[in-house]
């Protein structure tokens, strides 16, 4: 069976899952229970009563970084299969090198564009 080698990995993941589940389920049962208190139900704000929303507005930069990450990460994923076969394919000529150089050049041009546009600056 082709997936047989994945079984131990699944088993390990199952054990990890059981461990964290036990750590979440058992303590509330065995631990002591305190009296309810309004302070326990309010957000932590260094001792002051919480003001305004707990989810404040935040910089658009974080969205930009997330979108750039998706673009570049997909390109990184393409590099892995190439890296594995690179040595073998080299025996048949340099085309494997040049094809990836073209790919990297396009990727790098895009990167330079993003850089020059100031998308990577944090002010």
């Amino acid at each position: 069976m082709i997936f047989a080698e994945y079984l131990p990995a699944a088993l390990q993941a199952g054990i990890a899952l059981a461990f964290v589940a036990a750590m979440l389920i058992v303590p509330p049962i065995v631990a002591k229970k305190g009296a309810p208190n309004p302070a326990k139900d309010s957000a932590y704000e260094c001792g002051l009563p919480a003001a305004q929303s707990g989810r404040p507005r935040f910089s658009i930069k974080f969205y930009l970084v997330a979108i750039l990450f998706v673009l570049f990460d997909i390109e990184v994923v393409f590099l892995y299969p190439w890296a594995v076969v690179y040595k073998e394919m080299l025996r048949e000529g340099l085309s494997i090198l040049f094809s990836m150089l073209t790919f990297l050049a396009i990727l790098f041009l895009g990167f330079l564009y993003v850089w020059k546009k100031g998308a990577l600056d944090w002010k």
Binding site: P8, Q12, M23, A31, A43, A83
Partner: protein
């Protein structure tokens, strides 16, 4: 003990009481149990080591009262956190609030499945799952860790955790790019994504000597991925109280804490495997001296653990030596320095390999 357990399995087979499938299951479960046990032990004692080393660096003594040299301190801390009252604050989003710590610890425990931690012990490969996609399993699971932190920040419905979570998300994904690029050189040389074969490839020369730039980028990215100083902005005490775990207490906080240290163990294990020869002992032909025995198998495992401990010490040492980055410096380093350097490393490796053709 290991010998004894193996004898029992052999006895079963001889007595015809066990099918090969059952033997396989018992052996795999033994390996999983041993790995999780050793890993949680390392997590507990890395916490103690950190507290002791930081105390020495700051000219203090550190926790030394519980047991000899404070060696039972992790047990005391664990019991305390386990028995603490479980507060579920009224203002949080309850489902995600409870799930977030579990999502942080789970990937670290599952990732370790593909790391080869020894050569062979009684003919059995010392890796839980010998996968062809080895490193992809590591990266795909490690990337899940960011969900735990972001969910914790969002579900807490409180300002400090929220800012900590958002910062952490941006930091983790920025350094993931550099991390992904820096190891490509390793797989170009080894010609396989299987971590066991990467270790085999290093039997004559550790890859850190062939890929010094790749290792440097990878190490910096690993410090950022584990939220350790100098990249601990998501939990910078002076600005954000405790960052994303401010609203957490008792065992849920402990899961975050264990998650951070378990991620350090995994990061060290991956660095040792990819760049420092994995379980191989440098300069000493162990199997010529000891033969292919249980003893040499144990020596390899010991060597792996020693290298792992050295990296854990490096994590601690750096934390108590370097100050924290400013956020714009952090982002500049990730995007404008490490990313181009990672591309340069791939280019250099490709050209050198093509030149050697």
């Amino acid at each position: 003990m290991v010998n004894h357990a193996a004898d029992i399995v052999v006895h079963w087979v001889q007595a015809g009481m066990a099918t090969p499938w059952l033997v396989w299951l018992v052996i795999t479960l033994m390996k999983c149990g041993a790995v999780v046990g050793v890993m949680m032990g390392m997590v507990a004692y890395t916490v103690l080591a950190e507290r002791r080393f930081c105390a020495f660096i700051q000219d203090r003594l550190g926790p030394n009262r519980v047991g000899p040299f404070g060696l039972l301190q992790p047990v005391a801390d664990g019991m305390k956190l386990f028995l603490k009252e479980n507060v579920l604050p009224g203002h949080v989003n309850k489902v995600y609030y409870v799930l977030a710590p579990a999502i942080t610890l789970f990937p670290a425990l599952a990732t370790i499945a593909v790391i080869p931690f020894g050569n062979r012990l009684g003919g059995e490969k010392m890796v839980i799952a010998d996968l062809n996609v080895g490193i992809l399993w590591v990266f795909s699971l490690a990337a899940l860790g960011v969900y735990g932190i972001v969910l914790a920040g969002w579900a807490s419905n409180s300002k400090y955790p929220f800012i900590g979570g958002v910062r952490s998300a941006a930091q983790l994904i920025s350094y993931e790019l550099a991390m992904g690029l820096s190891v490509i050189g390793v797989f170009m040389l080894a010609g396989s994504l299987n971590l066991g074969q990467v270790v085999e490839y290093q039997s004559h020369c550790w890859l850190v000597l062939k890929q010094p730039l790749g290792f440097l980028i990878f190490m910096v990215a690993m410090f950022a991925e584990t939220n350790r100083t100098p990249f601990d902005l998501p939990e910078g005490e002076q600005e954000l109280a405790a960052g994303y775990n401010t609203e957490y207490g008792s065992m849920k906080f402990a899961l975050f804490f264990m998650g951070e240290y378990a991620n350090m163990v995994v990061a060290s294990a991956v660095m040792v495997t990819l760049f420092f020869g994995g379980w191989q002992v440098p300069f000493i032909p162990v199997e010529q001296w000891l033969g292919c025995s249980w003893l040499s198998g144990m020596v390899y495992i010991g060597c792996f653990l020693a290298k792992l401990a050295a990296f854990l010490f490096l994590f601690i040492w750096v934390r108590w030596t370097l100050p924290r980055f400013r956020y714009d410096q952090l982002m500049n380093l990730g995007w404008k320095v490490l990313l181009p350097l990672g591309l340069l490393n791939i280019l250099l490796t490709a050209l050198v390999l093509a030149g050697q053709r």
